[in-house]
Symmetry: C2
Subunit: 366 residues, 2 copies
Amino acid sequence: MFAPLQNDTFIRACLRQATDYTPVWLMRQAGRYLPEYRASRAKAGSFMGLATSPDYATEVTLQPLARYPLDAAILFSDILTVPDAMGLGLSFALGEGPRFATPVRDEAAVAKLEVPDMDKLRYVFDAVTAIRKALNGRVPLIGFSGSPWTLACYMVEGAGSDDYRLVKTMLYQRPDLMHAMLAINADAVAAYLNAQIEAGAQAVMIFDSWGGVLADAAFQTFSLAYTDRVLKQLKRSHDGALIPRLVFTKGGGLWLEQMAKLDCEVLGLDWTVNLAQARARVGGRRALQGNLDPHVLFAKPAQIEDEVVKVLESFGQPHLDAHSTGPTHIFNLGHGISQHTPPESVEALVRAVHAYSRRMRTGTPH
Amino acid sequence: MFAPLQNDTFIRACLRQATDYTPVWLMRQAGRYLPEYRASRAKAGSFMGLATSPDYATEVTLQPLARYPLDAAILFSDILTVPDAMGLGLSFALGEGPRFATPVRDEAAVAKLEVPDMDKLRYVFDAVTAIRKALNGRVPLIGFSGSPWTLACYMVEGAGSDDYRLVKTMLYQRPDLMHAMLAINADAVAAYLNAQIEAGAQAVMIFDSWGGVLADAAFQTFSLAYTDRVLKQLKRSHDGALIPRLVFTKGGGLWLEQMAKLDCEVLGLDWTVNLAQARARVGGRRALQGNLDPHVLFAKPAQIEDEVVKVLESFGQPHLDAHSTGPTHIFNLGHGISQHTPPESVEALVRAVHAYSRRMRTGTPH
């Protein structure tokens, strides 16, 4: 059904296999910093107009690949499609973040929640298949979802928050309700990611964007445990290919040892984490993804190259033994790319990652 | 000049000396969650009206002490008084955060910066002396300042920010300008804190509220190094008493080993940090302060007590040897108290800290 994969560097690095260079892709690489994205969005009329149309989703997913030799594509969608399918009424006001018409704030609202019929998310799976076809084997396609906790944050707050007061109040005052919601979210996310895999996603990533707002102990209980519940339900392979699973907790650097026990292949790291230390803490058990500060892309190309080299050197040489299970590195930002990023900065970044990481492997970095 | 200190529990814990119980105070303990504070603010007309009047500052600093048996008072002021004295024009619009009329965004603006005449901050030192007198030796008074980096964030952004794009652009694009600004900030903060000590502050705290937004390596270069520059200039004692120095970096948990090398007595921790692990990482070298999630105070009193016990048990028993240099714990929140906090929650918290920590010391916690 799909063309064979030509550039498998990203998949190999996820599986801790040797690669000729360090693969690179960027969180939110299809986005507002690209003029062609803004043009597509204007045509579609809205963000959800883009995300719900397989044609538009394909168009914008491929835009950064037309500019830069990135090693993976990521489905263009939103992390909140699942609660939207639960009936919470997702909308995006212009210039603002997402908003739910009916947030979940009491026992009655939690009691009404259930794993949504995946048919309501058909537009996402159709987009996955359309993008995979359009990629024609060039690079792998990553599917994704928000984590159960991150979805719960939006579901309770009803929108982005700067203090998470409502969701944390529920967590501390009614942990029973929070656990009930998270269990449903986890099962819904698992079904959602499995359907993306069946539709053609070659790797899947769980974004725990707001795990880092939790206190120690609360993180393990209310975020990590439910990410684990998702992972345990995911398909390991499809159509004869292994499906790598990536987990990214923004602000989760302190919990890396515990995250390393998750049943996944790759841990994403934000820019506060020292990659050499992270590698020592995780050992050879997981590939690491990250972690350039997205604001480096506001510097000049020579400065961007210097910062890229620092990240690559911080991770160091991948130590691949005869059994090909050494730790590996996937280059990325530590968070989504800023909408204000000059597109030429991304060119400097991708070029520097590829060139310097090739030289590292041949022992002639300088 | 001042009455002798009656309750020295906080000072003793800062200096890693034995105490009968774990002292407790709360960041932003004099604030909007108290109806009497809101009444004072209404009388004063504005936040700066409160902060610039020694009488009002004394009134609101003492308000939480009238309600709760807290073990320290903290100067009522703002972290941005120093850049205001540099001429940047601080204001607070109702319901919004602080704003500077003339942010520092280019070489010309940085060139104009200098350590301000401390006479412009006389109102702060007058408030310190007035509060110290009014406390009449009941508990010690903590003075404070923003860290050089945290001040720079506001000085460049001109207001709070959710992405720190402008200050990070300057950092990555013009590190020379950033270093010049931070050196001036550090020397200004040192002069400011020394003047607070001379006016009567019995401990001083540096709030690096935004250190945690920095990437690894950038934190050490642009925040930690300048906090160190402040600490190296601070008076160690005044009027025959040692002056403990506290440093709090929100989101700094990953850098604890490096922070432990700072020349200070106490490290403040936010709620993402596991206290037992922090204690192991820091060793006996520093007292630790923190770190209850402020949102716990939205739960019911029995739940608050449970969470207080978890924090106390996580730190564990202070191990004080014959030379009285074991690690010690000062109970606090992991961040400022929320304005929406029910005042009775604070009562439950303070009572639980005192009662349970006394029982821990006598070996009868349950």
